[in-house]
Symmetry: D2
Subunit: 292 residues, 4 copies
């Protein structure tokens, strides 16, 4: 397929590479030039402008957040001259943005698919992402070879632009909740003379297997949250997406409220450059641990 790819960050670059490996023709654009050169080495064609990317049949984008999507893509002039017939937005954005973007695309005769992913950069590189997808069934069908090239599995979640986005926001809320629960439990354990590392070992080897508890459990055991895989302010951004989605649909989310406060507490205390696992430090600080 003739694919345009926008956004060659830590996630976007390996995803574009996997499209190329699967035999698709990929023209790429990125705000900064370095990743473009790297993608060209992988076999991509460098587009001279965003507009040129939109001359491909399908546009795939992987930008950071609402602001980037708005700045780069939600541009009437751009969309009105596009040849592309479908845009697959793989960023984690707000429900509001997804809905507005789909409407704007529709006004220009362009199909819109939401397809955010679960997995970090190394998972993206291995082509093992779990892809949450929603949009018109016919479009999901059309782009399925592309999604298959980037992920181990595509999960269809509905025919609107919002369902995949809400599922992704829910997943991140659940990761944040797992970190917070681990943080509170570890502080409780430590205050009673249990080594938090021993607690993490028990839990991850019994009832809580899987990547989330082991990754954040390791950070907590080692009390080491740098270098950051996912920075605290991004975590707060995602918790806020959850709160906003809850607000829009009138769904109380008390855990999300607690998370918001603990992320703010962490950032106020200078931990903005740490991994969001560092929200566990808040529980320790509030309990005045360690105690001598």
């Amino acid at each position: 397929m003739d694919v345009g790819f926008i956004g060659l960050g830590g996630m976007g670059r390996p995803m574009a590479a996997n499209l190329i490996k699967a035999g698709h023709a990929v023209r790429v654009w990125n705000r900064s030039p370095e990743p473009v050169a790297a993608a060209v080495e992988d076999g991509a064609v460098a587009a001279a402008s965003v507009a040129e990317v939109w001359q491909a049949d399908v546009v795939v984008s992987m930008l950071a957040d609402d602001a980037s999507v708005r700045a780069v893509l939600l541009d009437e002039a751009l969309l009105s001259r596009a040849a592309a017939t479908v845009h697959v937005n793989m960023a984690t954005v707000s429900v509001g943005l997804a809905t507005a973007a789909a409407a704007l695309h529709a006004a220009h005769g362009i199909g819109y698919v939401s397809a955010p992913v679960l997995g970090r950069t190394e998972v993206a590189a291995a082509g093992n992402l779990n892809i949450l997808a929603s949009g018109p069934a016919e479009l999901l069908d059309r782009v399925s070879p592309l999604l298959a090239a980037m992920g181990r599995r595509t999960w269809p979640l509905g025919d609107g632009p919002e369902q995949a986005v809400v599922a992704k926001i829910s997943a991140n809320f659940m990761i944040a909740s797992a970190i917070e629960a681990l943080g509170e439990a570890s502080a409780l354990a430590e205050a009673h003379g249990v080594d938090p590392g021993a607690l993490v070992d028990v839990l991850t080897n019994s009832i809580f297997p899987g990547p989330v508890y082991s990754a954040y459990g390791t950070m907590i055991r080692n009390d080491r949250y740098a270098p950051a895989g996912f920075r605290l302010p991004l975590g707060l951004k995602d918790v806020t997406l959850g709160l906003t989605a809850g607000f829009d649909a009138r769904v109380p989310m008390p855990f999300a409220g607690i998370l918001r406060d603990h992320f703010l507490d962490a950032i106020a205390h200078g931990d903005a450059d740490l991994d969001w696992g560092a929200v566990a430090k808040v529980s320790r600080r509030r309990a005045a641990l360690p105690r001598d």
Copy 2:
């Protein structure tokens, strides 16, 4: 070894059976007679009284809660005439009870080991429990063959009576937090047109594998919380043990505070006989779901 076993409930019976299978001589006592008859069929000897059980070398007990332990075991007259030199308390009790029990046992020259378990009845039957153990190293060593007969692994957590208890309370707090997070996420998803079952599928097949998310995810997908594996009021009891342990050690636990309120909300609405997974119903009710 010559073992006395007290408490033949859903968990205790298969645990005693596994001790017998491993070749230990087991005399048993239970408040109600039926499980005793069953244990005798498994090869146990029925003790005529609790006091007789305490003539064994090692006493293992698996009672329901603080009140049962207090009523059956924390009895000066009983302990003063005991021949046993060590008591392995496998119940989930409060930190305060564990500490008081250890002191009372010490006053009568009896060693005390805390050894609560992770796993439900079918796990106990398979001898696959994860056993959280704390107490004097020499005692843990002595009773290790018994623990090995009942579990897949014993996790040593410290030399006091409280560490294993705190670890168990922490684990249950984390399960409750996972249920609540699933509940809030499912309500959010449903309110935005995502099928909660589809969300559960994605999560349990990707970042949240393991028995906790799949068991409670299934309940939520089916909106079916009976028959109860673990009743709501027992869940509230365990959350309260966490809050009390946090209080004792001055550890704020905001997630536990939210859990407490949601369990109370569930019980106030008549769901006391449901599985504690039904705390997820509270998030749906608060959002007035389903909406027509």
Copy 3:
């Protein structure tokens, strides 16, 4: 003084009338025409357009929220042709809007004063508002006769556009917290057989005198929240302003988080047209009161 007045709602109309009574020349504008006619009867001059209002020396505005202020006032074309040298914005708006508005006004050489008020319509009519004011000292001085005509007292809170706004948001957060505390206490009392009305009587006649506890206590005693003095969604809007202000300055606000969820719960249950005092119904519903 030559005053332009924009926004003749329930609050704006009596405020404009008080300016007229104090001898100021007031030209008025309002989106809908009826209140203009009424103001003209009070002695105002009807402006043909918003632009005409900006030909006065001082513009006072009392609009509903950020959206109205943005739509009516933050207009480059309008400000660039204005003769007015100072704008007194008396609406309850977000910190972000106040800051942005002040910067935009400065770019057009117009002074900006934030002056939100405490008090409802009858207080405005009596000229007894408490006015929270911030902005450059020289400007506060210049507009002080106008503020004196509308309120019993002006409270200077700083020299920026944000301090008065934050104080107003804080005050509304505290009112919402008082309602919620009353609601939880009343549910607790009722569940234990205490008449909530009797509890309200004790409190408002002893340690909690003043308009807030008596107004909302009366609603709770009578379980009657209509007609609404201040609708639930407006209350939620103000709680959200507090959360956003806390977010911007990295201040955890756990009470505000709880308030947000209880307002959402109330609105999800169909109470959007009730007074925000009706958030007390949420505590009763969660406790499944009344019980038969």
Copy 4:
């Protein structure tokens, strides 16, 4: 009336003195002897033992908490030999204790009245307490002259032992909530450049008059919480009474949950000897204020 009075602490002593002033014969007992000597100077008779106090017609007690009441008064031997026909318990105790105490008294043919008070020592000295009373109407009637001698007004709240206790617990919960709301609002204000003292001035002179906001507002303005009028751990005790009462009646109390955590946070950080107003320090610390 012939009155026995037990508990001559900061509250009890002036209350006993007011009974004497009103012409009643008062025999007193206290754990430590100094206050007894002082009461004798006021005109009381020193009882040689608690038992002797129970030979009076009516016993009034003002002890610190559940533990003191249990230790001094809930004694079968004592009650079985008592001549007194009614006991007025003015302490702030748990609902459980009030109910159990009433039942024990009834078993010995002694009437029981709950009569906790609102007001601190100086209010007690002036005879201006607000007295929350519940118990059988006939008994409330009989002891009304005594209550009238100690307070400005008696508020009848029901015919059981629990209603007055729940009302008192509710009142203290509401004071704690007001402190917390002030604390969060002050932190928000300070973080945005508003002087907390200026905020306190506005609020206490407008919508929040009365002793609670002015007393705690002054502490916050001055950032000075010593000497303590009511120590933090006592505040936590009362919040816990509220949570327990909510638990017993299945009433979610999210504000109380937040309060609990903030009191624990304060005590963990070494502020146990400060006034409970110091819970406001927690909001500032969590926001990392002051910032340089």
